[in-house]
């Protein structure tokens, strides 16, 4: 590989470089995804723009009420170890703990994982399930996009060549909400998910009625997807085993997996059902796990 490495010290410098080089430049944060792609010759940027020296991009702050904002440059390990995140939305802690290995997480960033836009991106399902939004910043403007609408296909997003993903806004789940992210992979967390399932559910105080639910599937469609028909089966209903099974079957139906080196489409579809069912059961039965 060959490129010129640019190391802006401020966000404005970084955006100016992006604006100048556009498709000829690529952002590097941790580099655990970008360098693999360059080594595999999938991409060949002339300029690599290192945003590691812009501390503001790694900030995490809570507005005191409803919103947790995470800088795109925050490492996965920081998210995994953050007491704040564990208290406020532990499903993110759980997702972070299932990405790669510790050595990867020490360097990889949440913004990088989302911008890689691989269908199995481990941070995506839980963040989408929480209703997260991403802030896309360029020299000219800033815009907020729902993470659910961010991905357009494998390795593609709505981002323009002059934009940088700077922040992820996470509306904090209301009390009584629980979440889980399950990842099915050959080599545990080190592999890309064969199926990833995130379920975020609000259950009534009486303990059985589903007030709201979001089911997000990773690795079984060109992008992470909401299993909306599956959600509709459970939403507003009293949960029981029959409903859980029906919901899991519908989720499998909504998946559009491909066959590849890791698994066949048929296996992925079956595992979507199994893991959605496992996720629902875990949340329904484990009343002491908060989201």
């Amino acid at each position: 590989m060959r490129f010129e490495l640019l190391r802006p010290q401020t966000l404005t410098e970084a955006l100016t470089l992006l604006d100048k080089y556009r498709e000829r430049g690529k952002i590097i944060a941790g580099g655990t995804d970008l360098l693999v792609n360059i080594k595999d010759r999938l991409i060949n940027p002339d300029y690599v723009i290192d945003i590691d020296n812009i501390p503001a991009l790694s900030d995490m702050h809570y507005d005191g009420e409803q919103l947790l904002t995470i800088g795109a440059g925050a490492t996965i390990r920081t998210l995994e170890r953050s007491d704040d995140v564990a208290k406020k939305c532990p499903v993110i802690t759980q997702a972070a703990g299932q990405l790669g290995s510790i050595a990867i997480r020490n360097v990889a960033t949440v913004g990088g994982n989302l911008c890689s836009a691989i269908p199995s991106a481990d941070m995506a399902p839980a963040l989408i399930g929480l209703g997260s939004r991403v802030k896309l910043t360029s020299l000219q403007q800033q815009r907020i996009v729902a993470l659910e609408d961010f991905f357009t296909g494998p390795h593609t997003t709505v981002m323009r060549p002059d934009e940088l993903l700077t922040e992820i806004e996470i509306p904090l789940p209301k009390p009584g909400t629980k979440g889980i992210y399950l990842k099915h992979a050959i080599r545990g967390t080190m592999d890309c998910a064969i199926v990833g399932v995130a379920v975020i559910i609000s259950i009534s105080a009486s303990g059985n009625n589903c007030q709201d639910i979001r089911i997000v599937l990773g690795a079984v469609a060109p992008t992470p997807i909401r299993a909306r028909n599956a959600e509709a089966i459970v939403r507003g209903q009293d949960i029981d085993g029959f409903l859980v099974n029906k919901c899991a079957e519908m989720a499998a139906h909504e998946a559009t997996p491909i066959s590849d080196a890791r698994a066949s489409a048929e296996y992925r579809r079956e595992m979507t059902k199994i893991f959605t069912r496992q996720a629902l059961r875990a949340l329904w039965q484990d009343m002491s796990v908060d989201s």
Partner: protein, 160 residues
């Protein structure tokens, strides 16, 4: 365009002239002769390139050397001070956790990072810490035993 970086490697300040696309693994091996850093898959899957950067385990084949500028790097060469082996190294030898030795530096450094932070890990925590490291020879059992033995040793030493 080449640039000068400074790395604090095993306690020694090293100045190296690098190309921007060089990884830390290449610099440690080719410029600084630290051959304990192995390049296996070169893609962050096998973990044989693992080193400690500011105390954290990092896959050096995926870290641009320029990004390590000014940081503390520890390789296995830095673990044996004054010809005395680190308890982890001793334990790996005694428990036959080394066969071809290719995965060993990465395994030891991941274990080192774990024990530095958590002196009394469970077996599950050890397995989690070593999840990013592949071994084709030992079947991992002896490696886990070695780390468990080393933690006991470190605890004895620190309580003296």
């Amino acid at each position: 365009m080449k640039q000068m970086i400074e790395l604090n490697v095993n306690g020694v300040k090293e100045e190296v002239l690098i190309e921007p696309w060089w990884t830390l693994a290449e610099v440690l091996r080719d410029q600084l002769n630290l051959m304990s850093v192995k390049v296996g898959c070169n893609k962050g899957d096998c973990g044989s390139c693992t080193v400690l950067v500011n105390g954290e385990a990092v896959k050096s084949c995926l870290l641009l050397a320029a990004k390590a500028n000014g940081k503390d790097i520890v390789t296995v060469e830095g673990l044996s001070m004054d010809d005395k082996l680190d308890p982890l190294q001793e334990a790996f030898i005694e428990h036959f956790a080394v066969q071809c030795g290719f995965c060993t530096p990465g395994m030891i450094l991941c274990a080192k990072a774990l024990l530095n932070e958590n002196p009394d890990p469970t077996e599950q925590e050890i397995r989690e810490a070593l999840r990013g490291n592949l071994c084709r020879c030992t079947g991992y059992v002896k490696i886990i035993e070695a780390v468990l033995a080393a933690k006991g040793r470190l605890n004895i030493r620190s309580s003296r």
